[in-house]
């Protein structure tokens, strides 16, 4: 089980039947499963599998594949590393990625609302944490001054 939360039209829910397996090191991959592969490995033979990017990976390298990719995951090696927020912004707002965008790694309750604002719509909560508890972090606050992926107009255009 992936300890996964997903935003759906009816609201956020805990996902118990997520089919994806995250592969951190490709040697362990069983090709019959639905895999989320590291970018370098995935680029060697672009496939039906999904891909995950570390914060050093350029999101631009996915541009040719956006129409066919089933899912993109962005890694937070530490929750204090904020690069994936900008990667998510670029994927969603600039490159038009409409598919699932999953946060993986050090994914914790108190950052979930920021991730959601930046366009993540699924969240693989860190394994030792309760997904149910993490759900409480998704809403965040009712006021956003600036703009974000899910609210592209700054507050001064909504005030």
């Amino acid at each position: 089980m992936n300890n996964l939360l997903r935003m759906e039209e009816s609201g956020a829910r805990i996902v118990l039947d997520d089919p994806w397996t995250l592969i951190r090191s490709p040697e362990t991959a069983d090709s019959t499963e639905m895999l989320i592969l590291p970018l370098a490995h995935w680029l060697e033979s672009p496939s039906r599998h999904a891909v995950w990017l570390g914060p050093d990976d350029g999101v631009e390298s996915l541009l040719p594949w956006l129409a066919s990719l089933p899912l993109i995951a962005l890694d937070f090696p530490s929750f204090r590393d904020g690069r994936a927020y900008s990667q998510a912004y670029l994927l969603r707002s600039r490159f038009g990625w409409k598919g699932e965008l999953r946060a993986i790694g050090d994914v914790l309750r108190d950052q979930l609302s920021h991730m959601r604002q930046c366009g993540f719509d699924s969240f693989a909560v860190r394994e030792d944490k309760s997904a149910e508890d993490a759900l409480k972090g998704l809403a965040g606050m009712s006021v956003l001054y600036g703009r974000s992926v899910i609210e592209p107009r700054p507050l001064f255009r909504r005030r």
Binding site: D81, G82, R83, Y85, Q87, Y145, G146, S148, F156
Partner: protein
């Protein structure tokens, strides 16, 4: 002053509730220290040597009388009766209990205040100069754009986990009193030929371990593009700034590594994508915010006041205070008054008691329009005082220990809290400041010396801005004992410069004598009314070294 509307109020109260929950989860063991750390930092809460310290945001250094009274109540109810004004125009409380912090934040929220992003690797309090809106040499009031930036940067989800802290300052006067060359982004606002507001954008300045003056990345940027341009800079920094070493993580290191041209090109490319989008500021929004900063109802006063003239002539101590602590004002008959928080031995630089805060709040209403400013030199400013009231204010200020006539003089020392409080410090700052203030206690002599800035930092994080003091003192650790390195020739403002180290460091006991020798050298070489910093620039460091290190020179000869 900017007035909160329902959105602003909802945000600060929701933030209090959010942090109350986080504190409870931390105290219940559900959040680890590591997980809690950035959460508390982004709510202004540090762990110091003896207790938690709470840093309250004072956006661009502006406070109402009511807000000042609230700070006083926090000082007396939750701290030891005082607070400390910082070089970034904020207030720090040094003796705070964790479980009381949500209540303190709630009390702040009730008067439209908060501690959001006063720490952490995010955009910090937006600063400007203490005389914004009233300075005689002001071009445009920078406060509306400062407030717009404050709102935009508050809990901006993409930029809360930057490689390192990020400081933005804006100024718009002939003199730069906001130190914009020393900020991650410095903004200089000025009118173009057609009167349109334009921005000069400076990037990559900063003090700390690697002091660098900022470089111009763009000029003539129309104000409507302020937010999109800052967003472009932050996105480039967030993606490419170093994260492997916290001492190399500030934007200045990235700018230096890429070179300003390459960095500017990255920013320009990013900006092209967003410049004409929804982030573009509207005239409506500018007017909405600017309407909160319309000038108060100034009375029509004569430019000269007879009683004031008489007091000046009769009372040399008052005249001295006026000469140093009173600034010219846009409106005839008005002045801005600087209340010095540097009385010498009576209290450390920047420290103000709850009773003093209450008195200042009263004076701001009696003599002005209920508004107070905090200067980055850690002093308090009453921006609108009629000339005819200066004598009465001076007498009250003296009684409260806020009447020192030393603004801009050697004893107007900028100092961080240092090793007495701060867990990062290598050495104490406050005893050094007080020893120097005690050594130079002759006001006539100090006034004769003229403008000399002396800045003390207890470690290389440079919270005391020692690099830009005419005399800078940096606390360093040598084998576990406290030593002090001295620099000369630093300056802030339009002619910003970083001081140069004069030689090996000194023990705490030696520092006052060393400063005395430096001043002695200045007096000997000074031409006419020359400023200290100009003398240093003219004669160089050698004459100072010769006086300060006589024995070392004999040995090396």
């Amino acid at each position: 002053m900017y007035q909160y509307d329902d959105y602003d109020r909802a945000l600060v109260f929701e933030r209090v509730a959010q942090f109350r929950d986080q504190v409870e989860r931390f105290m219940a063991g559900e959040l680890s220290e590591e997980e809690f750390l950035p959460l508390r930092l982004q709510n202004g809460l540090y762990m110091q040597k003896h207790a938690y310290m709470l840093r309250v945001a004072i956006p661009y250094g502006t406070l109402s009388a009511e807000q000042m009274r609230t700070l006083a109540s926090i000082a007396s109810d939750y701290d030891r009766g005082y607070g400390h004004f910082t070089t970034r125009q904020n207030m720090q409380f040094n003796w705070i209990e964790l479980h009381e912090v949500p209540d303190i934040l709630e009390r702040l929220a009730q008067v439209n205040m908060h501690a959001i992003q006063t720490s952490g690797n995010c955009v910090r309090n937006i600063t400007t100069e203490a005389f914004a809106g009233v300075a005689a040499d002001e071009l445009i009031d920078p406060r509306p754009l400062a407030e717009i930036l404050r709102q935009w940067s508050t809990i901006n989800p993409e930029f809360l986990f930057l490689p390192r802290k990020f400081k933005i300052a804006i100024c718009s006067a002939k003199q730069d009193r906001a130190a914009i060359m020393m900020h991650d982004i410095g903004l200089y606002l000025y009118p173009g030929h057609d009167g349109q507001m334009l921005l000069r954008v400076i990037v990559g300045g900063g003090l700390g371990r690697t002091p660098i003056l900022g470089l111009q990345i763009r000029d003539g940027l129309p104000w409507q593009h302020l937010l999109s341009y800052v967003e472009a800079v932050l996105r480039v920094y967030n993606r490419h700034g170093r994260r492997d070493n916290k001492y190399k993580a500030r934007i200045k290191i990235l700018v230096k590594a890429l070179g300003i041209e390459a960095f500017a090109k990255e920013v320009e490319e990013e900006w092209q994508h967003i410049k004409d989008g929804p982030a573009q500021l509207t005239e409506d929004e500018y007017q909405r915010v600017a309407s909160a900063f319309v000038p108060p109802n100034y009375r029509t006063l004569a430019g000269t006041d007879l009683d004031f003239g008489t007091h000046l002539a009769d009372n040399p101590a008052f005249a001295r205070w006026v000469a140093r602590n009173v600034q010219p004002h846009k409106i005839p008959g008005y002045t801005s008054v600087v209340l010095s928080t540097k009385p010498g031995l009576a209290s450390p630089p920047g420290d103000v008691t709850g009773l003093q805060m209450l008195a200042v709040a009263d004076w701001s209403e009696r003599f002005g329009f209920g508004e107070i400013r905090i200067a980055h030199e850690q002093n308090i400013v009453l921006p609108d005082v009629p000339k005819s009231e200066l004598f009465a204010l001076w007498q009250l200020a003296k009684e409260q220990g806020l009447g020192a006539a030393n603004v801009g003089l050697l004893t107007d020392i900028i100092a961080c809290p240092g090793g007495d409080f701060c867990a990062l410090a290598n050495a104490k700052s406050i005893p050094i400041a007080q020893a120097i203030q005690a050594r130079f206690d002759n006001l006539d002599y100090l006034h004769d010396l003229g403008d000399i800035s002396l800045n003390i930092s207890g470690c290389m994080n440079a919270c005391g801005h020692h690099h830009i003091g005419n005399i800078g003192i940096l606390g360093v650790d040598k084998n576990g004992s406290e030593w002090y390195q001295i620099t000369l020739g630093g300056a802030q403002g339009k002619n910003s410069a970083l001081g140069k180290v004069i030689g090996p460091s000194f023990s705490a006991d030696e520092v006052p004598q060393v400063i005395e020798r430096i001043i002695g050298t200045f007096v000997r070489y000074r031409e006419a009314e020359e400023l200290f910093v100009d003398t240093v620039a003219r004669i160089g460091l050698e004459p100072f070294k010769e006086r300060v290190y006589p024995k070392a020179l004999e040995v090396s000869a």
